[in-house]
């Protein structure tokens, strides 16, 4: 492999590199020497052929020319002469990375990371210098996202201001973060600007954001005129990706023929998925499916289990139902706790049954039951993303 020195001694002969800002030429030379030594140590012959691609400049400056002009075929046996187009005008780093993946074009990397939460973005930014540079817009987007949330909810000493929230979210959105797009869409929707909301949800959805897909699906259902076909399409995508709310919504549509032919086994399946994801309403419906043999083979055992879970997660009707179950099983005290919870949440039917049970219990048991109800807190167990 030829190594023509096209630059004064000390530089890595394999590509042009200008002195980066903030580093003296002496340091530069030293670094180059060190790197050269390192590379000589590391060279393995099966890497030589793929080295062709590693002679290329860093992706960050590569993209500034044009991604198309800079791709090289690392498996190219014909060994093309590197053309002028491929050389960088400058390099933001002196340390060429050996991996192809460090040289993903900027726009590609931004697309990949579009749906990332901040922790994931942080990790990705620390992988290598090229990625750090490429992902800067998204890190900026995170800042705007944070401000947007503050304005929306009036946190951290900031007064709630929906318009400012929207402005912040939009700034995050144009920097490519789907999280910001979805939040902006939500604000638009709240303001009544449904078209704008849908358009932002759509952008996020197409970049693979499950919340965006879910919201888009629901928006299509609620739009006037509604678009059931698109709704199902997006709800399905989000459901497959594990979005709990979408799974529940999809199950509802399948159950009630919104945009699809009624399909009880599928509906039950998606209720169950959402239930397993921690959504109490889905747990309730799952219980009913088992109880009536709708979509599932009838199973009172599983019906009871899911009803209890729904109750424990705070579903009021489920608390009533479960209270009744316990009552019929003779568990008076426990029954009373659940019925009391349901009563407090507004289930009038539960109040009546609760009264009946009270008669049967000793005053101390009643007190204990009421105390348990006072101290009760719902379980919160959302395992996957959901709004």
């Amino acid at each position: 492999m030829k190594k023509d020195k096209t630059w004064p001694a000390g530089s890595d002969a394999r590509h042009f590199s200008a002195l980066p800002i903030g580093i003296s030429s002496k340091q530069h030379q030293q670094q180059q020497k060190k790197k050269k030594q390192q590379q000589q140590d590391n060279d393995v012959d099966n890497r030589l052929s793929s080295c062709q691609s590693h002679l290329q400049p860093r992706s960050c400056c590569v993209a500034k020319l044009h991604p198309r002009l800079l791709l090289t075929n690392s498996k190219n046996v014909l060994n093309q002469e590197p053309s002028i187009q491929r050389l960088p005008l400058f390099s933001s780093s002196l340390r060429p990375n050996r991996s192809e993946f460090s040289m993903l074009p900027n726009d590609v990397l931004l697309k990949i990371a579009a749906t990332f939460t901040h922790p994931n973005l942080q990790s990705a930014s620390l992988v290598c210098l090229a990625w750090r540079d490429a992902l800067r817009p998204l890190r900026e987007a995170m800042l705007f996202l944070r401000w947007g949330k503050r304005f929306k909810h009036g946190r951290s000493g900031v007064q709630a201001n929906l318009q400012k929230a929207l402005d912040s979210f939009l700034k995050g959105a144009i920097r490519g973060s789907t999280l910001a797009m979805v939040d902006a869409g939500l604000v638009y929707w709240e303001m009544g600007e449904k078209e704008q909301g849908i358009s932002l949800y759509r952008k996020a959805a197409e970049l693979g954001d499950a919340s965006g897909q879910c919201n888009l699906g629901i928006a299509y259902l609620q739009a006037e005129p509604s678009n059931p076909k698109e709704s199902i399409r997006w709800l399905y995508k989000a459901s497959v990706a594990g979005h709990v709310r979408a799974q529940y919504q999809l199950a509802l549509c399948l159950h009630h023929s919104h945009g699809v032919i009624r399909n009880l086994p599928e509906a039950a399946k998606w209720y169950l998925r959402a239930a397993e994801g921690g959504y109490s309403r889905a747990m309730y419906n799952t219980s009913l499916c088992y109880s009536h043999g709708e979509g599932f083979t009838q199973s009172h055992r599983l019906a009871r289990r899911w009803m209890k879970r729904a109750a424990d997660h705070g579903h009021t009707k489920a608390q009533f139902e479960h209270g009744l179950n316990l009552f019929s099983e003779g568990e008076m005290m426990k029954a009373m706790v659940y019925l009391e919870l349901a009563t407090r949440a507004g289930e009038s039917g539960a109040a009546h049954v609760g009264e009946v049970i009270r008669q049967e219990l000793s005053p101390s048991s009643v007190d204990r039951a009421l105390l348990l109800a006072d101290n009760w807190r719902p379980l919160l167990l959302l395992r996957s993303s959901s709004h």
């Binding site: 991604p67 198309r68 791709l71 075929n73 046996v77 014909l78 990375n97 050996r98 192809e100 993946f101 460090s102 993903l104 074009p105 726009d107 590609v108 990949i112 990371a113 990332f116 901040h118 922790p119 994931n120 942080q122 990790s123 990705a124 930014s125 620390l126 992988v127 290598c128 210098l129 750090r132 890190r139 944070r146 197409e206 693979g208 259902l221 609620q222 005129p225 509604s226 059931p228 399409r233 497959v240 919504q249 509802l252 549509c253 159950h255 009630h256 023929s257 919104h258 945009g259 699809v260 032919i261 009624r262 399909n263 009880l264 086994p265 309403r281 309730y284 009913l288 009536h292 709708e294």
Partner: protein, 195 residues
């Protein structure tokens, strides 16, 4: 429709591929070249190897076939155009579920057997080593094939999500070229990420 127009593509390593025009046009880049009048000669793709081009053609062929399949279904049984105006699509399930008698015949095939099948196919297609993955995403970016771009971007994103920095480097075989100072800088700037 007698014979379909064929487009000839040439990979960087000189392999020739003949594909149907519809398949070739899945690539916006090639589509524009055809529109500009280059459809009758060999279209060179100097940035795509034969191995990857083969895979890409496989992908596009499959998706074009699936699209045509969907179009041929004249009646779309899956769409029930109901005006769903209710704001909260949350029924009291107790009543509905009890109405067993009013059940429509459940046609398992009618509800979009396709998306699941094609999604399966896509998942298997993209289940490749990271070197191939890299070439696929870069080529699909160059050729501007939206579906493949989306698929590969998603796959790569999934590989990165919820992993530590070291794990990501290992998966993608990337060397750490941060100096300790540079690394500290980024960590500090974004330490609030974990709040």
């Amino acid at each position: 429709m007698s014979s379909k127009k064929m487009i000839t593509l040439k990979s960087s390593d000189g392999r020739i591929f003949e594909v149907e025009e519809a398949v070739a046009q899945e690539s916006q880049t090639i589509k524009h070249m055809i529109e500009d009048g280059y459809g009758n000669s060999v279209i060179p793709l100097p940035n795509v190897t034969g191995r990857i081009l083969y895979k890409i053609i496989e992908f596009c062929t499959k998706h074009v076939a699936v699209e045509e399949d969907i179009k041929q279904k004249s009646v779309e049984p899956t769409v029930v155009v109901e005006d769903v105006k209710q704001k909260s699509v949350e029924p009291t399930v107790v009543e509905d579920v009890k109405q067993k008698s009013v059940e429509l015949p459940v046609d398992d095939d009618a509800w979009d057997a396709e998306p699941s099948d094609i999604d399966e196919w896509d998942a298997q297609f993209i289940d490749v080593d990271e070197s191939t993955m890299f070439e696929l995403i870069v080529a699909s970016n160059y050729l501007n094939i939206k579906r493949l771009m989306d698929l590969s971007a998603q796959a790569i994103a999934d590989m990165m999500k919820d992993k530590t920095v070291e794990e990501i480097r290992k998966i993608f075989n990337i060397q750490n070229d941060f100096t300790p100072e540079e690394e500290m800088k980024i960590r500090n700037e974004n330490s609030w990420a974990y709040e």
